[in-house]
Symmetry: C2
Subunit: 237 residues, 2 copies
DNA sequence: GCCTAGGTCCCGTTC
DNA sequence: GAACGGGGCCTAGGC
């Protein structure tokens, strides 16, 4: 591939030709390969994918994705850091391994439709609207939570888990604040309860769950457990 | 594309040519497009991806994936069911929308390296080693949990959440069993505690967490709360 | 390396 | 549609 080329396509390459292609480009390029194959995964779980057409993507960081004709999720995958080896037998076999945990994917390829190597230089990514930003807003403007609130510690660590935001209310009582960027569910309530149970062994403490909404059961549970829910208005800024 | 062809490649297509390509194939084929673009997402959160080379995958179920040069996760995406429209301006603009929640991705393309439409017929997928199978094993061989255990109800629903497995021990005391396929963490303990708190309002009850391992803090918490941990040996079958 | 918790989580299932 | 919980979750951040 010349210096100026962004990509290189091989149509219907032979097994040997694809092996060479992979070893030439796997460390510098993203590989996109469309094949007829079956796949075996073994590791934390175990799976088989029977013969079919699948799209294989291999990134230079070691990521391996095997996509089918639908769904956002790959059918099989290997995360960054995984190795890739190939063997040529009756079929072409690709094996990707990771160490921790020990996991392996074996792709048995009977037919290669095409393979592309691309030189991919991605842009910079920025995101807004995360939970972290809710916390930052409350730290900057504590009255958004309630009048008289004073933030003390972000990500306060306890043996029961890490508290999003610890503070005190206007009376000086400790307040544990748990933030959720989406509708709060039962698990958010137990999470908050867990922190409260820890701290209340030492001090009187209030627990407040901050979220744009809450499910019915979560709301009933939070009341039953003497905790508070504060609806978060995203335009509060 | 002829009946027998598995795929069709366009090299450096014009904007208009890609628009036609997309409208011809988006309902029947998976599209794989490598471009120089920037991306704007708005919906549950908001993000921007600045100019760079990115791989766009569009599946016929509406899934949209925008991949960069590393990581398993797409930089931006849209799940199945999303629409796709294109506009030709100074740049080529692709817009993908979903209704619930209302979310939009805008891809502004300045250069198209190549586009492929593939006819993808995926194989059948099977997986072993899930939590569900742990539960099935205990239902089939209750003594694997403990001598005298009797399973009563799988996925027993309560206002505090759904219990993996409800049963009775040899003394007739209710037992709530929570299974984890990996190492159990703090959240698993609070989850179990939540169910126990519900049921113990009505009956005496034990809570057992079953997993191949447990973190230090989770183990301390489970003891403190009077719950039990049962180590799961995967070869128990 | 372990552990905690978020995520535009996705996804299946159940009501 | 709402909600609950699993996932080979992945990923980031602490220690």
């Amino acid at each position: 591939m010349s210096f100026l080329e962004k990509y290189l396509v091989k149509h219907n390459p032979s097994f040997e030709s694809l092996q060479e292609f992979i070893s030439n480009y796997q460390n510098t390029h993203m590989l996109i390969i469309f094949v007829s194959c079956k796949v075996f995964y073994t590791g934390r779980a175990k799976s088989t994918l029977s013969w079919g057409d699948h799209l294989i993507i291999r990134k230079k960081d070691g990521t391996l994705l095997i996509h089918g004709s639908n769904k956002r999720e790959p059918i099989n995958w290997q995360p960054p850091g995984s190795s890739l080896k190939s063997k040529c037998r009756r079929n072409l076999i690709l094996i990707s391994r990771r160490r921790h945990p020990k996991e392996e994917i074996k792709i048995v390829i009977s037919k290669i439709y095409f393979a592309v190597a691309v030189d991919c230089r991605e842009g910079k990514f920025q995101i807004l609207g995360t939970e972290n930003q809710m916390v930052q807003q409350v730290i900057a403007k504590p009255y958004l939570l309630e009048e008289g609130f004073t933030p003390l510690k972000r990500e306060f660590q306890t043996p029961y888990g890490n508290i999003d935001l610890l503070g005190k209310d206007k009376k000086g009582t400790f307040v544990i604040v748990e933030f959720k960027r989406g509708k709060a569910q039962l698990s958010a309530v137990s999470q908050l309860k867990r922190y409260v149970e820890y701290l209340q062994k030492k001090h009187p403490v209030r627990g407040i769950l901050v979220a744009p909404g809450i499910t019915k059961s979560a709301e009933e549970l939070i009341k039953k457990w003497g905790l508070e829910f504060k609806k978060w208005l995203s335009k509060a800024s």
